[in-house]
């Protein structure tokens, strides 16, 4: 049995005196798609920041294929093949669409994703490649953010709130494109407010509530009542 892509054990995270995560345990196996749901402030984004190295973690709390990565810098984590599509897209405003994508390739990991592949996935980006990234619509910006993460040919890709602030028709398009993105053995963690969307593309689901894992289950069989209970904390 190979080491899992990501194994999180007893993860605590703090912002100054405020503790945002309490002993979170989680595991992502190769090729697996995980959904993380939870209310605002449940600690989802903090968890993403911990995994990607934007927050420094305690020893042995985050293991990547058997190696402790909890104390690596974000760029070192990126080199190991963990990429993120950040909440709110966070494109570089002074870079063109194409340059934003090329920044993603900076880690120089070999793999199927390059400019051509991203343009094939999202043809509109090729038409807009020389525009400033901020001049695009929200949905197109999300495509750039996804493309930028793919350009690093990650083994594990984290999607933080990809449907936030987008029109339903755009969300549908992006979720339609997802299987083509994560189908090639790439693992993914999808953080999402839209629970049914998250369940439809994932194999397992975790729910966070006030910094703790309140539910862990299979996405296809999980009961709605269990989700409500885990989500809101009402018995």
């Amino acid at each position: 049995m190979p080491d899992p892509i990501l194994k999180i054990s007893g993860l605590n995270a703090h912002y100054g005196d405020f503790q945002a995560l309490f002993g979170v345990d989680m595991q992502v196996d190769a090729g697996e798609v995980l959904a993380i749901i939870g209310a605002n402030g449940a600690g989802k984004t903090t968890l993403m920041r911990s995994i990607t190295g934007l927050l420094t973690n305690g020893p042995d709390q985050i293991m990547h294929k058997g190696t402790d990565i909890g104390r690596l810098r974000a760029d070192e984590v990126a080199l190991r093949g963990i990429a993120m599509v950040p909440e709110g897209r966070q494109l570089f405003p002074s870079l063109s669409v194409k340059e934003n994508l090329m920044i993603g390739a900076q880690v120089l990991r070999p793999g199927p994703w390059n400019l051509k592949a991203v343009y094939q996935l999202f043809p509109i980006l090729e038409e807009r490649k020389d525009q400033q990234s901020t001049s695009l619509s929200g949905g197109q910006q999300q495509m750039v953010a996804i493309g930028r993460a793919l350009m690093s040919n990650p083994e594990l890709i984290l999607f933080d709130e990809i449907s936030l602030g987008l029109a339903p028709v755009i969300i549908r398009d992006i979720y339609r494109a997802l299987p083509g993105i994560i189908g090639n053995g790439m693992s993914a963690i999808i953080v999402e407010q839209d629970i049914s969307k998250a369940l439809s593309v994932s194999s397992r689901v975790y729910c966070l509530q006030e910094g703790r894992v309140s539910l862990e289950d299979r996405s296809d069989t999980v009961a709605r009542e269990d989700i409500s209970r885990a989500y809101f904390g009402i018995e």
């Binding site: 760029d75 966070q90 570089f92 920044i103």
Partner: protein, 287 residues
């Protein structure tokens, strides 16, 4: 004709000011660092040029080939070893640390080279001139101005046409996200400071050929550099060249009115522009 002459000479002088300013503009643009020691680093470069020319006997312009990489290396080490630790949400720590650095550099130069004014001996180049359309232009000022254009053009090219420039702009936009993309901002900042001090090296050598310098001369260069950056608008390199030219012209025209007014009229021009256009003439980034 005298007035035209003053304007042309001022424009050429502006090239030197633009060289003072380009490094300041670059590091502020990439990492929002205001480097109070910038002027002293220019003077340091001039002294390094002095050491190289006296030790080897080569022409000061050739010394650029040696001083540029040395200053670039100093810049990288300075940034990684010291200045990176001061960067954060607060603008004050880098200001204080670079102010302290300025004091240290001045005193180290005083210790190492004494307070005597020095000059880089460049032979004929110091006085050579040629006639152009009824004006007499010094070869050195024209050369300095050409250097300024070449340096600004080169920086512009690095910024907008290379992977390094893309990294500079990405880190400038959003440090966290750039880090997520595998860019180590500490390294990128080190490279930016190396590039800035490479430009500083050119500025220092040309300064040393043009005029005498002593360890306390950094402050004045810093002010001219700052003024050129602010006049031109933050984050715009060609604007910085324009700012340097405006400053240079204001000084030579002021000196034409009354020799005692040279420096003052440069400052007055700066204050006027700051009053009318607080963001400078061609701003790219909002402060």
């Amino acid at each position: 004709m005298d007035w035209l002459n003053a304007i042309v000479q001022g424009t050429l002088l502006g090239g030197l000011y633009a060289l003072f300013a380009a490094g300041l503009s670059l590091i502020f643009g990439v990492m929002r660092l205001v480097n109070i020691a910038h002027g002293d680093l220019i003077v340091l470069a001039a002294y390094l040029g002095l050491t190289v020319t006296t030790a080897t006997g080569i022409h000061p312009l050739l010394a650029i080939v040696v001083v540029v990489p040395v200053m670039a290396a100093i810049g990288y080490v300075l940034q990684r070893g010291l200045l990176n630790q001061t960067l954060g949400d607060d603008l004050l720590p880098p200001l204080l640390v670079t102010f302290g650095l300025s004091v240290i550099i001045q005193n180290a130069l005083l210790e190492g080279y004494t307070a005597d004014p020095q000059k880089l001996a460049a032979g004929n180049l110091e006085t050579a001139s040629f006639a152009f359309g009824g004006l007499t232009l010094g070869v050195l000022p024209v050369l300095t101005f050409s250097f300024a254009i070449a340096v600004i053009w080169g920086l512009q090219w690095i910024f907008y046409c290379t992977a390094l420039g893309r990294a500079f702009r990405a880190v400038s936009d959003n440090q966290d996200i750039a880090q997520l993309m595998g860019l180590n901002r500490r390294h990128i900042f080190g490279l930016a400071m190396a590039l800035a001090l490479a430009v500083t090296a050119i500025a220092g050598i040309l300064l040393g050929i043009r005029t005498s310098f002593d360890p306390s001369g950094g402050g004045g260069r810093l002010i001219f550099g700052f003024e050129a950056v602010i006049i031109g608008g933050l984050g715009n390199l060609w604007g910085t060249l324009a700012g340097g030219v405006i400053l240079g012209v204001a000084q030579t025209v002021g000196a034409k009115i009354d020799p005692g007014w040279q420096i003052l009229s440069g400052h007055i021009a700066f204050l006027l522009i700051l009053a009318v256009r607080p963001n400078g003439l061609f701003p790219r980034i909002s402060a």
